[in-house]
């Protein structure tokens, strides 16, 4: 990758362990992203995904290493990097408009009331909340709250969007709609996005690349899965793409078994932290083809 818009360079995060000493969440982690790229990171709970995101956001600092964004090493939080929180983190005493306007007025200190209002309204309309401007967060459904969170993040026109499992608290239908909208908005605005998720389908639908992270402590970025699906994909048929199951099975295999055993794999394969292996699951999964007439389940049974 020539254009390194975001470059995570050898970051390490250690926490003091309750029993004394330190716990290393991850060590010497390298990752780069280009402008306009949508990267999802998948891994089990507690592997340190959120810590990586917090370091990118500037809310947490690495114990070692540095993060470079747009040729500048980051020092704390910045308006260039907007965060969409898992718990939406709306200010409950402000209305929808108030929440978005708060971000706008933080970004442009000299804006007049009218300019702030106009900018906020634009993004409230974009996420489809027109008419709900004066509602308080408590009056909104979970999906609507998360829309406000997205509008707030977008309204400051950031260079990067950081999303920490933004849809995990939503029901499946709402999640689908919001994924569509986030995808549309990010494509339209050319946003660079770093997103944490647990949902394999979500990652395949949204991401250009999926980063697989092993279990913590001492987690590593095991593989970089390049999404073989075309950039123009539709929710209605992306799961019918011939390569879909190949990617999906690769990721699920990783989550189910390899995320635990990867440390052993690393030693034998000459794993280099700086050059995380790039995987392009291209071949059509043999098990899915079932040429010999066997049902695909038999492969699972054999694995047990």
């Amino acid at each position: 990758m020539t254009d390194k818009f975001i470059s995570i360079e050898g970051i390490t995060r250690r926490f003091p362990a309750p029993s004394g000493g330190t716990t290393t969440v991850f060590e010497d982690l390298w990752l780069s992203m280009s402008r306009g790229e949508f990267v999802c990171i998948i891994g089990h709970s507690g592997c340190g995904k959120t810590t990586v995101l917090n370091i990118l956001a500037g809310l947490d600092a690495p114990s070692e290493g540095t993060v470079i964004v747009d040729n500048q090493s980051i020092e704390g939080p910045s308006l260039d990097r907007a965060v969409i929180f898992q718990s939406h983190a709306l200010l409950p005493w402000r209305s929808v408009m108030g929440n978005v306007a708060y971000a706008v007025s933080s970004r442009w200190r000299r804006y007049t009331q009218r300019q702030i209002h106009a900018q906020a309204q634009k993004f409230i309309d974009l996420v489809g909340l027109t008419g709900a401007e004066h509602k308080r967060p408590a009056e909104l459904s979970g999906g609507m709250k998360q829309r406000v969170g997205i509008a707030r993040a977008l309204s400051i026109e950031p260079k990067i969007m950081l999303m920490d499992e933004p849809f995990s608290a939503l029901d499946a239908l709402t999640r689908g709609t919001l994924q569509d909208e986030v995808r549309r908005i990010c494509l339209e605005t050319g946003q660079t996005v770093f997103m944490i998720t647990h949902d394999v389908d979500e990652a395949i639908y949204l991401a250009d690349r999926v980063v697989l992270m092993t279990n913590g402590p001492d987690a590593v970025l095991a593989e970089m899965v390049v999404n073989p699906l075309p950039k123009e994909r539709k929710r209605s048929d992306f799961h019918k793409h011939p390569l879909y199951y190949g990617v999906r099975n690769h990721i699920i295999d990783f989550l189910v078994s390899r995320s635990k055993s990867f440390a052993g794999e690393m030693k034998s394969s000459g794993y280099d932290r700086r050059q995380v292996p790039v995987v392009r699951p291209g071949a059509i999964e043999p098990a899915m083809v079932s040429s010999n007439g066997e049902p695909p389940q038999s492969r699972l049974a054999a694995a047990r």
């Binding site: 500037g58 939080p77 929180f85 200010l91 409950p92 005493w93 933080s106």
Partner: protein, 279 residues
Amino acid sequence: MKHYLALRAAVLSLFLFAVFVSAWHLATSGSGTIAQMDPEYAKLIGATASQGKSAMPGPLDVGAKIWEHLRNPFYDRGSNDKGVGIQLAYSIARVLIGYGIAVLVAIPIGFLIGMSPLMSKALDPFIQVMKPISPLAWMPLALYTIKDSSLSSIFVIFICSLWPMLINTAFGVAAVRKEWLNVARTLEVGTIRRAFTIILPAAAPTILTGMRISIGIAWLVIVAAEMLVGGTGIGYFVWNEWNNLSITNVITAILVIGVVGMVLDQMLARLTRLVTFPE
């Protein structure tokens, strides 16, 4: 349905009130034997002993007294005979001044303690020792240093309303949700703006709860303080009427203290509701 419940509750309240007043009336109506004696002597020993009349005033006596006070609350016939309205005004003014100063001191210091773990740890031993001291224990020291009885009672109000507000403010500020602070951080909001736009609204319900506890305590303490220092105020009025053995006035004052305390509390309750946000 809700209205119906409110109506039933009101009817029950009135019924209980009627039962209480009737019981009071019966208990104080007097049942002693009327002794035959020289009228001059009867006058000397009083109605209780001579006619079997109860020494405790009945509800009718108290009602008449309240009516008398209500008709003319602001008369001033010298230092020992002022209208109940004037006495109340003195007490309320003292409470508001002492309480107001306490608000000005407790909220900024509470913010400081809540925002700085260092200050929190450093000031904790002082607060822990000062908090359980009865405010009246400060009275002699206040009288000795301030040399003014009215200012001393204001100081006592100040010191007693300080702690609940201080502790609640510190707690409210320290307990502001981390995610809201993170929102402010990612938006590069400065310390002052963060204090006013995130921490203050988030901690406001807790702070106002502390203020409500404080006004309640201040109103409890002012009566005792004025009994001690004398001169003016509803507390002094109660003590003065006790010295006059005017139990009707004492009962009237007790009722008035209760009503004013309720009004003060309800004002703060309404303010608390204004700043409370649903989550």
